[in-house]
Symmetry: C2
Subunit: 204 residues, 2 copies
């Protein structure tokens, strides 16, 4: 059975946000085209600085072995060991220069993160799940997918229907079923100056 | 009346994602403490590389003039001109070094973007709205709020209840009511290699 790991919150949050997490177990089941489209559409409507939309995605599905193997090949070994069960892998890229004049875009990674957050929540809404990976080789990805200068490969996202933790190795299964943890609010919500917890953050 | 500007989508997306946009008109109405807490709680549960959670927020509310004026002072003139009506302003910061060993965290901005996307969608869910600004002076923010080395001020977020576009200057009112625009999917969803539109992106 797929796990439900709902966030243990200090204040109520929207169900979609509470239910999103990053499993490693996926069902051996393709993702329907219309659902995949909805994910990218959700990414499309993210906010971005100057509405620059400095994001792109390269998709590889399991039924396209050449591209899928190419995507797997850029992952670090640890991630390749479980992500090879995900029916879809996506490389997420940020445009670090503004289109109109080539100036550096300080918010490229930030805006890409907003787009992938949207994508991940849309996945949750459709019964799908994502696991974003920093553990891949950006230079290998650049070469494999002919990524032009000015664009940076930032993450690889595994996507699919959530699977059974028992399908994982014992080490990964333990990580899969572990409690979700986050820093308390008073560690990162400040008021007035750095490091001064906002009174509201201490009120929970 | 506040505007509804629902995304005109090429594929269906979750209501929360479709309704989120970035207005400049706010009601002169404070944001309740419990709602503010839910926003930060939503940010808290974002995904991050190594679960590093490389984000922080410094909050200034309109009823705390000293801090609020301090936050306004770091904005560029254009943004100060409208954001001074928002009941809450927040500085969003990224930790660009890993806590445990000080190595650079390549995904700090990206992960902060995911946290602020969560925050913005939670705002939408609560009838609130956010407008993120890149237009501020990061160095001035660093000095004003005593931000330590290793942390980067990345954006200032205006938050409040959506207001009437007619409360804006005519120039801003025109921008407020303009149609929302995004690039079509085939411009940023690729397959196989850079610049090759994924067949699914052309299917809409």
């Amino acid at each position: 059975m797929p796990l439900q790991k709902i966030a243990e919150t200090q204040a109520p949050i929207h169900d979609l946000i509470g239910r999103r997490w990053s499993p490693r177990a996926f069902l051996n089941l393709p993702v329907e085209t219309d659902k995949l489209l909805s994910l990218f559409e959700a990414a499309r409507w993210a906010a971005s600085s100057n509405n620059e939309q400095p994001w792109a995605f390269i998709v590889a599905t399991h039924d396209d072995p050449q591209n899928y193997e190419g995507m797997l090949s850029v992952l670090v070994d640890f991630n390749r060991g479980w992500a090879n069960k995900a029916p879809v892998l996506m490389l997420a890229l940020a445009h670090t220069q503004f289109e109109k004049d080539g100036r550096p875009n300080r918010h490229a990674y930030y805006d890409l993160g907003q787009a992938t957050a949207n994508l991940s929540l849309q996945a949750t809404a459709l019964g799908l799940t994502t696991h974003q990976m920093a553990g891949f080789n950006p230079q290998a990805a650049r070469e494999r997918f002919a990524v032009p200068e000015g664009w940076e490969p930032v993450s690889v996202i595994a996507l699919g229907y959530p699977g059974d933790p028992d399908s994982l190795t014992e080490t990964l299964r333990q990580r899969e079923i572990a409690r979700r943890e986050r820093k308390p609010l008073e560690k990162f919500v400040f008021e007035g100056a750095w490091g001064h917890p906002a009174p509201i953050a201490g009120s929970v």
